[in-house]
Symmetry: C2
Subunit: 567 residues, 2 copies
Amino acid sequence: MTLMGTNKQTKIVIVGGKATGSKAGAILARRLPEAEITLYQKEHYHSYSSCGLPYFASGDIGSFEQLTVTPYGVSKGPEFYKNSKGFTVVPGALITEINRRDKSISGKLLEGNEDFEAPYDKLVLATGSLPNKPAFPVADSPRIRHFVMPEDAVHFRKLAEGGKIGKVVIIGGGYVGCEMTEAMVGMWGIEATIVEKENQLLPYALDFEMSRIVERELSRQGVNVLTGSVVKGIEVDDQGNPVVHIQNREEIAADYVFLCIGVSPNIGLAENCGLEIGETGAIRVNDRMQTSDGDIYAGGDCVESFNLVTKSSIYIPMGSLANRHARIIAENIAGKETVFPGVTGTFLIKIFDLNVGAVGISSGEARKHGMAAKEVWGTFVDKPDYYPEPKRFTLKMIYSGENNRLLGLQAVGMGDICRRVDVFSEFLRRGSRVEDLFYLEHGYAPPYSEPLDPLSEMAGIAGAQKRGVSFLNFAEEIDSEAFFLDTREESEAVGLPWPLPKEAPEGGYLNIPLNDVRNNLDKLDRGRKIVIICSRGARSYQAALMLKKAGFNDVHVLGGGTLAALS
Amino acid sequence: MTLMGTNKQTKIVIVGGKATGSKAGAILARRLPEAEITLYQKEHYHSYSSCGLPYFASGDIGSFEQLTVTPYGVSKGPEFYKNSKGFTVVPGALITEINRRDKSISGKLLEGNEDFEAPYDKLVLATGSLPNKPAFPVADSPRIRHFVMPEDAVHFRKLAEGGKIGKVVIIGGGYVGCEMTEAMVGMWGIEATIVEKENQLLPYALDFEMSRIVERELSRQGVNVLTGSVVKGIEVDDQGNPVVHIQNREEIAADYVFLCIGVSPNIGLAENCGLEIGETGAIRVNDRMQTSDGDIYAGGDCVESFNLVTKSSIYIPMGSLANRHARIIAENIAGKETVFPGVTGTFLIKIFDLNVGAVGISSGEARKHGMAAKEVWGTFVDKPDYYPEPKRFTLKMIYSGENNRLLGLQAVGMGDICRRVDVFSEFLRRGSRVEDLFYLEHGYAPPYSEPLDPLSEMAGIAGAQKRGVSFLNFAEEIDSEAFFLDTREESEAVGLPWPLPKEAPEGGYLNIPLNDVRNNLDKLDRGRKIVIICSRGARSYQAALMLKKAGFNDVHVLGGGTLAALS
C-alpha cells in the first residue's frame, strides 16, 4: 500500500479525468499554485471529448487521437497536465472508497494491482455517467453494444471501414441515437433502423409535432424510423447475428445493434460514503457545487441540476455544463465564492442537414409540472428572402398563460437556429416574459438576418394569441368538417393542399390569396369552422384578423404554416 | 386643393413609406381597425429594402423587384397595403409642411402637381435619412454619385452588366463603402479603390487593430485600400472620367466614383414645425417614440437613439431599429403604453468571406466618454478543432476597469460571430458585468460550438487581466528591446515569427512550446521585457502565469495571438 501526499501542502484530490475533472484541475493549479492537486482516472487513454465520438464513428473525424489532443496537437496525457497545466494525473487508478472521517480516498492502481490511499483537504467528484441498463434481455455479443465509450466507437468504425456492416439497428431515439443514424447512413451507406419506445424521436427535447419534422428528414435520408416500438429483447441467431424483437412488430435482423438508451449518473462512490443523492438519482449539490459534505465538491454528469424554468431538480448530462461546473468548483475551493444558479437546458443536435435545438421546457414538460402553458409556432428564414439562399426553420415557443413568462423554445430547420437558442436561453435565465423579446437588439445585415428577429416575431404571434387568434398544432388531425381557407398565392397552392383531411369534404377548401381575402369574405361560410393555411403562418394570421373583424367566430390558424407541417 | 379625410374616424397620417412607416401602418390597421390610416410617400416605386441595395448592385440579387415584394412574391404597392394590411398608401406625395396648430399636413401630389391638405389626430414621421453632403467640391457627373437610392444601384448595375466599368473609387470606408467593394470586385471584377479619411476602415464600429483584419482581407481580395486619405475634390477630365484628388497622394482616375460618406437624418419637416431636434441632429423622441409634440411620433432613420452603454444620445440609422420603432409607435398610438429603452448598437457586415460584427462601444468611444475602459482579445474557433472545418474569429471585449461593466464587443473572422453579437447585445442591455458572461448557457454540440462559449472564455481572459496579466494590443508596435517567447509547437512556429520588430535584436526570440516552458525557465532573462506569443492567445496566457509565478516581472501576452495579428 502506497500512502500518497504526506507533505504539508493543501491536498486536492479529483476523481475523474474528463471535462469537469481536468478543467477543475487546471484552474485550481492556477489559483492555488502551492496546492498539491492530483487527479485519478480509471481510464488509461488520455482525456477525450465524448461528444465527438459519434463524429469519429461517422468518419467525419479521421482518428480517435484527434479527440484527445489540444487544438495545437499535443496529447492531453499526464505529461501535458503536469507541464502545461501544473497538476498531477494518475491514469489507471480505480477509486474504491471515500473515507470521509479521515478525509482520504482508497483505490487500486490497475497496473500492478497495487492498493493506495490518498488524503484530501478538498475532494472533487467528477465520476461522470454510466450507460443505462436495458429494460429487456440482451444477448451477450460483441455486435450488440452501447455507444458510450471510445472502444464502442473504435470497434464500430473498424467494422464499418472494412465494409462488414450492412444493416444496423439503433435502440433509442434520443440525441445519440439520432446522431448515430447520420453516422451510419450518411458516411457508410449502412441501412439503419432506429427504434424508439415513445411515440416520437427526441422525446426529452421536442414536442411531438416538432419531432415529426426530424422524423420526416430521417425518412427522407433512408433511415427506417420505428417510434412507439417497445423492444422485448435482443437475441443472436445461429450465425451470431443480432435479432431485435419488438412488441407487436416483426423481428429485425441486423449485423450490429447499438443501445443508445441514455446514461445515468455514476454515483457509487458518493452513495457508499453517504453523500446526499437527489430525487433524480444524481448527486445533490448546492449552488457552489458542494455535496452534503462541505469538503467534497461534485460536477459534470454525476450531479443533478436546478432547472431555472421549473424550479426543480433535473438530470442533464452535458459537456458544456461539465465545463462550467469545473470553474465553479475551482473558484470556490480557491476561496472565491462563486455560484452556479441553475440551468435552462439548452440542446442542439445536427441531424443530416437539419439543425435541431431546444431550450427550457416543452409543452409536455409544462403539463407534467402543472403549468398552464400556451404554445405558438412560426416558420422563418434566416436572411431576407431576396438574399441568396435563405434557409428556413420553424420555431415553437412555450409560455405561461398566467403571467406570460417564457418557458421554452424549440427550433428545427436548415436555417441558423443557434443564435435563437443562445438568446432565448439568456432570456429564460432572467425569468423574462414574452414582451421582453421585443427588446432584443439582434445583429442585422442581409447576409445574416432579417430586420426583425424571429424571436421578436414570435412575441408578436404570442400577442395575437393573447388577443384571441387560435393557433392549431400542425401535427394534430384537423376536424374533418372544417373548411380550409388557403391564403397562399395560386402558384404556391398547387396539388392537393395539406392539411386537407384524407376525404376532403365537398367544398371544404378554397384558395384565396391574402391580398384578395378582404374583398371575398362573402365566399366564406360564417357558420363553419374555418382553418386558415399559408406557407409560414404569417398570412394566415393576418387573414384571421380580417375574418374576426368581419364577425367570423370559429377561425383558426395553422401554426407554422404548411412548411412546418410538411417539411 | 383637395381636403382629405373629412369624416369622423380617428385620422392617423404617416409620412414616409419604408420600414417604419409601412410597418407602423400595418400594426395600426390591426390595432385600430376603425381608424383612417394614410401613408404618404414621395417615391413612386414600391416599398423596398434599402439594406438590400448593395446586394442588388453586386448581382447577388437578380432584379430590383425582388427588393419590393413580399416573401411570396406580391409587390408591396398601394394595393397590397390596402388589401393585405388595411391602410392607404399615397405614393408620389411630397409633404411640404406640418401645421401643428390645426393638426394637419400640407403637400403636393407630384402627378398633376396638385396641392392637398390632410388633417391628423396622430402623425407619424418616418422621413428617413438623406445622403451626407461631401466636404469637398464634386463635379456634376452621372458617374459620380451617392449610393443611397435605388436609382444609384440600378444605374451602376446597368453599366457593370454592360462591362462599361473597369475602375471604381469608393469614397468612405464605412459599412456601405466596404459592402460596395465586395459588390465591385467579387462579382464584376472591377478594380476598386476605397478611400477613407480616418486611419482605418469602419471607424465607427471597430477599433484600429480589429479594422486591420478587415483591411488585410480587402487587400487580399485585390481591393486598393487607402486609409488616412482626405479627398480634396472630385473633377472630371476631358473625356468625362472622374478624377479623385487626395491630399498628399497622387490623383486617381476612375470610370465611376461612389460617395459612401454616410447619411444624416431627414429632419426638414420636423425642424420647420418646431419639433425638438437632439444634439445629434436627429429628431428627439422620448421612450415612447413621441416627439416634443405628443401627437407626433417619429421613428426610423430620422430620430436619435439613447445609447444604453454611454447613457447618451446617438444617431444610428438601422433597418432593424426602424422596424422596432414602428411597433412602439403603433402600440402607443393604439393606447398600449410601450417603451423603447434604448440601443446597444449592434452592427454586422459581411466583407467577402469575413464576418464582421460589433455591439456596444469601442475603446475609442469609451475614451471619448471619459470611461476607464479595459480591453482583452481572444481568437477562437466556432466548433471544436477535431470537427471538420472549424472556422476562426477574433473577439475584442471592452469593459469598465472601475466596476467590470461590459461596454462593447468586436468580432471579426470567418467563424460564426452572429450568436456572440446577439448574446452580448442582450448582456449589454441588462447592464451586465464581465462575470455574468460565465452564466451564459449557450447551445452546445460539436457541429456548432465548443463546450465553453467564447464569451465565457473572454470573461476568463478579463479575469486574468484583473489578476495582473498584461495583454498587448496586437496592432501596436512592440518595443524593439523586447524578448519574444513563442509558445507554439515547433511545427507551427516556422519562418520569421511575427511580431518580431523589423530588426530582430540578437537573441530576441526563442521558441519553447508551452509544454516545455515550465522546465526551461532558466533559458529566459528575468531582467528583460518578455512578450509571449502563440496562435490564439490561450497558451501565452498560461505561460505568462508560469513566468509570473516564477518571479518574472515584465511579462506580456500578445492579445488574440499571431492569428489575430496576421490574419
